[in-house]
Subunit: 335 residues, 2 copies
């Protein structure tokens, strides 16, 4: 390892004081062109890299925000992240992505680290409801895709109850009366809300709550969708639902795959509706009907709220977007 060249080494090499070097780095205009050149040359020659820890310790600010996602492999979150990053970089901030992988231990560790790092702000889609654990530690936190229950911080979400309602209403209108809802774990707020919406749709249509079979999954990933598919096919056909509403597109894609493998046809044997409308939904084996959320906008708005957090008289706001049903072949009208 090299003996770590610091600002003083550069200063000595250039024959100036360290304050001047600092000025070259932070206010280039204030130092005479000739001196500036000399300093830049010294920096290049010595391969100096400014120590951000020291800078931040003294200066206070960190030029970084972080987004803690529930599942980095879910395109929904990477799309949201794109929106976040666009807004962040307009404000001159870098974005670090952290993956909690739906594990609240990891989530806690990352939050702790980020607080200690004194990042400018944290965006998070929390693992479970008791976001109390995201105690206020001085760093602004904005919830993404989850409503702040106690109004102690900003949040940006999409109306998941409405989304669930749209999906199931659509299924009812296309003639289904035995519907499965696939999703879980129930500790996830989105799953609960979408289910509530589904139940509301039944009520609106005058159907009993029993018309909805809830099939709980361990996660919201493709593999669990396949599992659910196998369980579904195992049911006696008299009791088997004729349609399935999945809590997200990954589950729906897994379900679809499992249907095909087992020789059932979508939508004839089972209509399927997903949630999120990720890019792959339209390219699926049977193009997927899905509930679309404004993903980039969600991220962008969240980042903007976060940045506004430092303004003098800031009031916490909650922004809620409306989802939209996109009908495709996987739920074509029953003939």
């Amino acid at each position: 390892m090299k003996p770590s060249v610091g600002i003083r080494d550069v200063a000595q090499q250039a024959g100036v004081s360290n304050a001047t070097v600092s000025n070259v780095l932070n206010r280039p205009d204030v130092v005479a062109p000739a001196t500036r050149q000399r300093v830049l040359a010294a920096i290049a020659e010595l391969g100096f890299v400014r120590n951000e820890s020291a800078r931040q310790l003294r200066a206070g600010s960190s030029r970084v925000i972080a987004y803690v996602v529930l599942d980095a492999a879910n395109p929904f979150f990477t799309d949201v992240a794109r929106g976040v990053e666009d807004a962040a970089r307009e404000a001159g901030l870098a974005l670090f992505l952290c993956n909690s992988a739906s594990d609240d231990g990891r989530e806690r560790e990352y939050l702790e680290l980020l607080h200690e790092q004194r990042v400018e702000g944290i965006l998070i889609t929390p693992v479970d409801a008791q976001s109390a654990q995201i105690a206020d530690r001085g760093t602004p936190v904005v919830l993404v895709d989850r409503e702040s229950t106690d109004g102690t911080r900003c949040s940006v979400a999409v109306d998941d109850v409405l989304g669930g309602e749209l999906a199931v209403t659509h299924l009812i209108e296309t003639g289904h009366t035995r519907i499965a809802m696939v999703g879980g774990p129930m500790s996830i707020q989105q799953v609960r809300d979408r289910r509530e919406g589904a139940l509301r749709a039944l009520a609106n249509a005058g159907l009993p709550a029993e018309a909805l079979t809830f099939m709980e999954t361990k996660s919201l990933q493709v593999g669990e969708g396949r599992n659910a598919g196998e369980r579904l096919v195992g049911l006696p056909s008299s009791r088997r639902p004729t349609a399935a509403f999945c809590a997200n597109d990954l589950l729906a894609l897994g379900l679809l795959q499992s249907m095909t493998q087992q020789g059932l046809r979508v939508p004839d044997d089972l209509a399927v509706v997903g949630y999120d409308d990720i890019e792959f939904a339209a390219a699926a084996a049977v193009p997927l009907t899905s509930v679309r959320q404004p993903r980039e906008q969600l991220g962008r708005t969240a980042a903007q709220l976060l940045l506004a957090e430092n303004e003098p008289d800031h009031e916490h706001r909650h922004v809620k977007f409306q989802p939209e049903l996109v009908v495709r072949a996987s739920s074509a009208v029953k003939r």
Copy 2:
């Protein structure tokens, strides 16, 4: 904002010196249980959060590594990241993900920031070949999915030439003699290598190089795959290739989608082979034949090489994995 409580405030509150508080934080066993309790109580009461900048400035190490990916929305990279994270967390390090989005400006900015942050190490899948720009700045860097040309650092890759050869050999064996390769931009090493493999396959089979029509795309994303599909269909059917080898699965999925929309059948009108074998490939409209890479293992190995970088007499290593062809319906034998 709260007036930022520091270690001395805690010390005062607990009636000890700041050194003792530091000990509680870093070597709890060395301080008497009674004192420790008192300090912990003070920490909780004051809501103290250790300032990582100061810690790192003094202690030197940062407990963080970073992975700069080419495209956070590409499941291939998030799968690699999963492997990286597993290995990192076994070593007690956190992982920050940075998305260069195939933009070398962003890539440079992130690298600069990470160097300044003095992260323990950087993994990167660089945007373009001249990885010279990733100059040695004192932080260990390991290349992922790209071979280090000059042996100045470790790298982990998969044999892309072989992968391209496998794919195109398969197409030739299933009876195709006019083959398109879809991919780009050519600045990306992987694209060049896979093309080289494709050409080698032709040569092996005694076919002329003209049997391969190269269709360059602007990126490796789904949308570009759709564009390529439209261009392909626009060709006079006498000259139109009967098979397409795509540089990655995203392109292949886009191509597939475009074929379906335009009323062409896969594999009858056009056989399609992708690359990466991401999870969505198997769930596609027509299950996708693809070249599988050991994604998690790639990430895990890269992280291990990075961690080994600090060992006393370290020699840079290059690890190369073998890809594997997975045949599915999109390239079923021509009848």
